[in-house]
Assembly symmetry: C3
Homo-oligomer: 270 residues x 3
Amino acid sequence: MTETIKIERKGDVMVVVNDNPANRNALNPDFYVGFAKTLEQASSDPTIGAIVLTGAGNFFCSGGDLNRLKSNAERTPEERRGGIDRLHGMISAMRDCPKPIIAAIEGGAAGAGASLALACDMIVAASEAYFSIAYVKVALSPDGGVTAFLGKALPRQLVTELCLTGKPITVERLHQFGVVNHLVEPGSALDEATQVAQRLTRGPARTMARIKSLCHGAQENTLQEQLDFEADLMVMSQGDGEAAEGIGAFLEKRKPNFTDLRRTEAEGEG
Amino acid sequence: MTETIKIERKGDVMVVVNDNPANRNALNPDFYVGFAKTLEQASSDPTIGAIVLTGAGNFFCSGGDLNRLKSNAERTPEERRGGIDRLHGMISAMRDCPKPIIAAIEGGAAGAGASLALACDMIVAASEAYFSIAYVKVALSPDGGVTAFLGKALPRQLVTELCLTGKPITVERLHQFGVVNHLVEPGSALDEATQVAQRLTRGPARTMARIKSLCHGAQENTLQEQLDFEADLMVMSQGDGEAAEGIGAFLEKRKPNFTDLRRTEAEGEG
Amino acid sequence: MTETIKIERKGDVMVVVNDNPANRNALNPDFYVGFAKTLEQASSDPTIGAIVLTGAGNFFCSGGDLNRLKSNAERTPEERRGGIDRLHGMISAMRDCPKPIIAAIEGGAAGAGASLALACDMIVAASEAYFSIAYVKVALSPDGGVTAFLGKALPRQLVTELCLTGKPITVERLHQFGVVNHLVEPGSALDEATQVAQRLTRGPARTMARIKSLCHGAQENTLQEQLDFEADLMVMSQGDGEAAEGIGAFLEKRKPNFTDLRRTEAEGEG
């Protein structure tokens, strides 16, 4: 674990804090590797049902550290690529993590900080926050998947404007678009995101892992491919003890108890 | 024809009613096969210009029948896959049908009922209706293409929320997004959808079939692939008697008559 | 250069005027070839930083010339295909042009005129303007990439409605969706678009070319492919003199000067 990652537990929710507030939680390779490893451990921990990612001190994340980026010009292309690969390894780890990751955003998410937020499965943001794809201001092209995430969610003309000008977009507008799930009072993003996550921990863990995969797959599969993917996972879901509990509870008009199933059977195929 | 499918004609519009109101029009394999066969017949019937799909009794469709789904756990994976394949065969038949299919939604569209609605080419919905991707509540992962349809239309964060929580989304919000075409007074969805469909029956049938293909293709083709697809179909359209009538009528400042062309030449390549 | 293309310069902005107002700037193969050639020349001209595309006389473009289209029925499929290929060659040239192209829209953009507008990187439109995918009215299927551009930006149900009915959509609604970037007073689209373009000319030219490529790529790449694309381009950006200037200026708290870099080093890899 790197010293800029702080882990807390709130029941079955793991809260990951990017804890570098003096530098507006600027990112560095240690964070990339540390967060990817944290997610890998969480994936196989049956006591964790959902993950919240936030930043310390009223700002989500300002992106890459410019002092470090400055020195990149002196590195070889291979060395530069290595740094980007670590960032992208973290983004892939977020996608591959079977548990939902909820971003809790105060203040802003800039540059690779926007990538980090958009790689999450859901986003809770304080109403005055903004996103900015600020790379162009220092003549860098975006990384961390931000063009992938925005490009699948919003029209190309808007994405082009955001990336060519670096000008901020409010979370209010992103909420209208459906990119931000919940707009909350400034100062309450972490609490609200934690509540969202806690409700998710009461859901069927393996089924939810399948749903997360489907939501990612839908961005890139053809209709026929996605139908096949849905069918493959539905065959699993129908044979899973979670569905037996879910359908049984529904027909018996009682609340299902998925939490015990997760805590005791978490090494399933999810 | 299964007994839960009722067919009506309103001029050149075929109205298909999912007629199982005691069970909120819950779906079953007979419906999947029956509706697919109905569409196949409609495809080659020159007297049909457009199709309306609705549900009996003020609710569009509640999705899969839970009593039937409960028994799936006892089936083999191959048997389960067979049931899903029939659902997916119907979804593919809806995409492949050369005629536009308009959903008329009252009340709600839940689970596979949301898939059924979203597989349509256009959606007319009563203003108080909702969609819900309710599968997760009984620990099932979605099928019927709902993750494909939503994933191409809305940001992943919103799709993930809808699928992980099962919470409803209003048709009012779906209308803002452009997923629902027309919001109408409760009780009038079928009438309004039928009017939309009747206007479409006066359009050029073969050209409209090409347009439907293009609208589906655009979801999964690259720009270059879609340009090639457009070019292939435009070469056909330019040589089609429909264009002769359409361009001729425009230059002569009269209304085109495509209906007679459809009724007499419907075995074209469309 | 064809006589329906008029070129003006406003500082480092090249303004291209589709100048055929008597015919509402209807398109013809000469325009396709001429505009593609204009873009090719602009690509390697270091004094041009951005391009504005507009139409003469208060209407952006009415699409294909119907008198010419009428004669297509008498041409062979190969001849028809040749005309479409020229249109599509222009659309590809717009995508491949490393410099941002801003559409300035007054009045309306219809048929292939809508394709032309949507192929641009950003759109500035007078508030009373509209788009219409009017092809169906004369029984033609759309070309020019309009189904690709709309299909990646908007839900299929809305795209289908626009293409099956030909009914107009206001630029106000397209602005809500993020397809139109700026809504402006009628009569001021060209001025406002030119100002947007002039601000872009002060940005880092090679980095912006990479950003444009990423924004197009995001529409069709998988997440992993786009991450790799971002990484490839970021390795270049980090080693580029533009980033040295951008990061240096930021750390020195001064304004970066990218314009001189463009004017002197424009034959870079961008």
